[in-house]
Symmetry: C2
Subunit: 210 residues, 2 copies
């Protein structure tokens, strides 16, 4: 158990790291390659633990070819849900969520009204397609709007981990809760720095023991 | 401070008690009269304390004639906000709120789509009026959707009080949090029972002291 003294951190990973084309580019051409490359790097970082909520892992599985992911590397991403019945959050967050939703719901109604007004003489299908896009944008952007988002934030809080996500809603809530976060664009560099640090620590340990 | 031993409870009051016509009927013809009558009864119940969040009190003031409320009776309703930065709620509630909202947001979009489809050949104003009503119903019913609702629930939780409200959203959340609640329709009887209990306790105290 001597290695325990080397543990310096925990990261909680969102799918965007592997799925979002802008983000995963540094890791690989496609989600499977990005995940393989990440796992290869993670294996060289004994000082860090990587977590992913099972709900997020399920999302990721829609994008990767399971056969191509070596099982022995999969041990480097721990799957764990937050202790959602035990972990406590301050009541003020309920206000913020409720106010946030209220604003968005009103915005949704205004969009719907505008769609009705512009519908005349146009194809209903076109109007609806346009409405759907605008409505989803207005109601989801910058807000935690899914079980998966809450999983990410609460798990990072519980583990005092670094949340790696491109989701603006999750980042906003990480800030409300004092959770560390990192944009995925910088994560490959971060991994390289961790590998360097791991090697340095291992070398100095050998010197000590030698 | 001997009277402290008599304190057997706290109630947190919503405006519906005085404002909602179906509910306040037992207390009075109009909100002002209902409040006056309630205060008259509250003065006879030293074993109970009555609280109202300031946000709810402000709502109530839109319905009553301030000049008609005797100031000495107003001491029987304490105005206090919950300690929203200190009070903690379990993380699971964030999931429930987020899921609840997600369902409603989707329902709102379906209503908007239906409005666009039925708009042809009708007056846009009529379609919008109908949409507004349905949208508000779908998105607000049975959900905590305002700062005022959160104030009520968190204050009742903080004080371990009895929440008196007709709001279905607040009742649903009181149940999630293990907060006691009572429908306002039964509250006048409840007050009568409290008056009886207060008198009984006062009498038995006199006997003891005599």
């Amino acid at each position: 158990m001597e290695e325990q003294s080397f543990k310096t951190g925990i990261a909680v990973l969102d799918t965007s790291l592997f799925v979002n084309p802008d983000v995963r580019a540094s890791f690989g051409e496609n989600p499977t390659e990005a995940l393989e490359n990440f796992l290869f790097m993670a294996a060289q970082v004994p000082i860090f633990e990587f977590y992913m909520p099972p709900s997020i892992f399920r999302e990721l599985q829609n994008f990767i070819e399971p056969a191509k992911i070596p099982a022995d590397l999969l041990v480097y991403i721990h799957q764990k849900s937050p202790k959602k019945h035990e972990i406590m959050v301050p009541g003020i967050l309920l206000y913020e969520l409720v106010e946030d939703i209220r604003d968005r719901v009103n915005k949704g109604l205004r969009l719907a009204e505008r769609a009705v007004r512009t519908a005349e003489g146009k194809s209903a299908d076109d109007v609806i397609q346009d409405l759907r896009r605008k409505y989803r944008e207005a109601l989801r952007e910058g807000i935690i709007d899914s079980k998966e988002d809450v999983d990410l934030i609460l798990l990072a809080k519980e583990l005092d981990g670094l949340l790696v996500t491109a989701d603006q809603g999750a980042i906003k809530w990480a800030d409300k809760m004092g959770v560390k976060w990192l944009i995925p664009e910088r994560f490959k560099e971060y991994m390289h720095a961790l590998i360097k640090k791991s090697k340095y620590l291992a070398d100095s340990k050998q010197v000590e023991e030698g």
